[in-house]
């Protein structure tokens, strides 16, 4: 995958399925604040690694170190065979960066942005032109090619960001909170684009605050908090750990809330954690792992003769993920998961 030699230097690791990103004991302090406090991370070639955590967990610091924008205080990081500290220029040639911060030039038209980056990546004029045209086409921006990027809608802007990061055919792509601040429809659009890029074999490191985004895009997940990795593994494995989905059962009569919660726990058919009661919204939250458990819960409640107002399933919010993994809430205040994470289930 990607470039084997750059400037006559050979990359360290070229086996398919090998490590695209290897991070060991990465530390970055800002005065007293430990942005990264000994992070280990492995991303295999051709996979999508999700890095999930609240604001201030160190996600962006990690991406900035891996894209050579920051120098770590300690530890080692190797991306596509290049050491971030010792071989920054070779490394920059094989990465793409799309983030909250790294951005296109708002004053330049979309095409000019892509052409400029092509030239900065040493494409000939002709190739830079062709690549700009090709990527605008691919990201459905051809019609907006001549308009300044500052006039683009949120979704178009992110698509242009993605196109910009793809110009050099990167081996590893960093997506730093690619959908933060987007409305649900636009977010789905960006997800589809990312999935297409992953289909082309790019290795992706994705940071996000949303469990749903991680589930949509990533095959593996690393959960970070206060500069430390608090969990990692396959996405299914972690979902099982945090209870997969949450079933929100709302009885018609609020008086039934507590008896219902006790009853469900006694049945022992729920996931790993026990149910909790959300008195504010009059619902019992039941962690479940499978559709069978969902059916069993609904069946049991019906058998008991309790009338239900609604049953919905939702993915655990970041807060719930943290609660089940660490026993405490996410350390920094953050947005709750987007409202449309909830899918109505017919009752």
């Amino acid at each position: 995958m990607g470039v084997d030699t750059v400037d006559g230097m050979t990359r360290i690791d070229k086996e398919p399925g090998g490590a695209a990103v290897t991070v060991r004991g990465l530390v970055k302090h800002y005065g007293e604040t430990k942005a990264l406090d000994g992070v280990d991370l492995d991303v295999r070639e051709g996979t999508v690694m999700g890095v999930l955590g609240p604001n201030g967990a160190g996600k962006t610091t990690l991406v900035r170190i891996l894209s050579t924008l920051l120098t770590p205080d300690a530890g080692q990081a190797v991306v596509a065979g290049y050491d971030v500290v010792r071989q920054p220029r070779q490394l920059r040639r094989v990465i793409g960066l799309t983030g909250q911060y790294a951005s296109v030039d708002e004053k330049l038209p979309g095409w000019e942005n892509l052409y400029m980056i092509g030239r900065l990546l040493d494409l000939s004029r002709k190739d830079a032109r062709a690549r700009a045209d090709e990527l605008l086409e691919r990201f459905s921006l051809t019609e907006a090619a001549k308009r300044p990027a500052g006039t683009y809608s949120g979704g178009m802007r992110r698509r242009l960001d993605l196109a910009a990061s793809m110009i050099g055919h990167p081996a590893v792509l960093y997506l730093d909170e690619p959908t933060t601040g987007l409305d649900p429809r636009t977010r789905n659009e960006v997800w589809d684009e990312v999935k297409r890029m992953v289909g082309d074999g790019v290795t992706v490191l994705l940071t996000t605050q949303y469990m749903e985004e991680a589930e949509q895009l990533a095959s593996e997940l690393t959960v970070v908090d206060r500069g430390k990795v608090i969990a990692n593994g396959g996405i299914e494995e972690l979902k099982a750990k945090v209870g997969g989905r949450t079933l929100r059962v709302r009885p018609a009569d609020p008086q039934e809330l507590r008896p219902l919660a006790g009853y469900l726990d006694d049945l022992g058919i729920t996931g790993l954690a026990t149910s909790t009661v959300d008195t504010e919204r009059g619902a019992v939250l039941v962690p479940i792992l499978s559709d069978e458990q969902l059916t069993a819960v609904v069946g049991a409640v019906t058998a008991r003769g309790i009338t239900l107002a609604s049953v919905t399933t939702e993915l655990p919010s970041l807060d719930e993920v943290f609660l089940s993994l660490t026993g405490h809430r996410a350390s920094a205040p953050q947005d709750t998961a987007p409202a449309d994470d909830r899918e109505e289930v017919a009752v």
Partner: protein, 271 residues
Amino acid sequence: MTTATLSPTAADTRIPLRGHLRHTGALIRRNLLWIRQDPESMFDALLMPIVFTLLFVYVFGGSIGQALGGGQDGYVQYVIPGMIAMMSMTLSQGVGTGFSQDFNSGVMDRFRSLPIGRGSVLFAKITVELARMLFATTVLMIVAVLVGFDITRWPGLFAAVGLSAVFASSIMWVFLTLGVVLKNAQSVQAMGFLVLFPLQFGSSIFAPTASMPGWLQAFTDYNPLSTLADAARGLMLGGPVAHDLWVTLGWSAAITAVMAPVAIHKFRTKS
């Protein structure tokens, strides 16, 4: 590791000259497109020479000219070379504000994550600002002729413009540093104003220093803007220039020697 034979820094800085030129060219194109996209950004370069020339010539020209012994026409001859110096200083601020905007918008992070020499970004900005400065100087000379300035020595005029550009490009390193270090473009502008205003007015640009109090004269004598203005005057009107020329070039070399490494270091290590 196969890289062991090469020292990391040597391997890492090897961009061929052609590469640097290509990158700088692409970034210059970007800055020119900015101007096309937003022609108002040229208003300062267009209007400043007009407004300042008219103000100084018609508001102060009569009385200062009288003191000089040549009336308003005499003042035109005196002040225009100084205006070239002033204009180049004021416009050199643009590199700082432009840089600050690029950092805040995230464009700079994109550049810094690309395999280009970081100097390309700096040099492209300096080149475009120097071009803007030449444009402003051209406007200034047109206005100057219209208000009665006699261009008697063309080579001297070009030499004066060249000297101003040399000095301005050394001052640009100061503004680049401010652009990297300060939080936003407004602070860069405010700081620039604080630095430039006393330097410009505490100099021989607008009026001879002979009537100033001794302590101020001591300042103006060492102020590089005085020597720049006096050198420009000598070059354009005739008269002794050697001393002022060398002092100005000395200042340029000293400012560049100190501030260019500082700017590049701050730029490289900015997080």
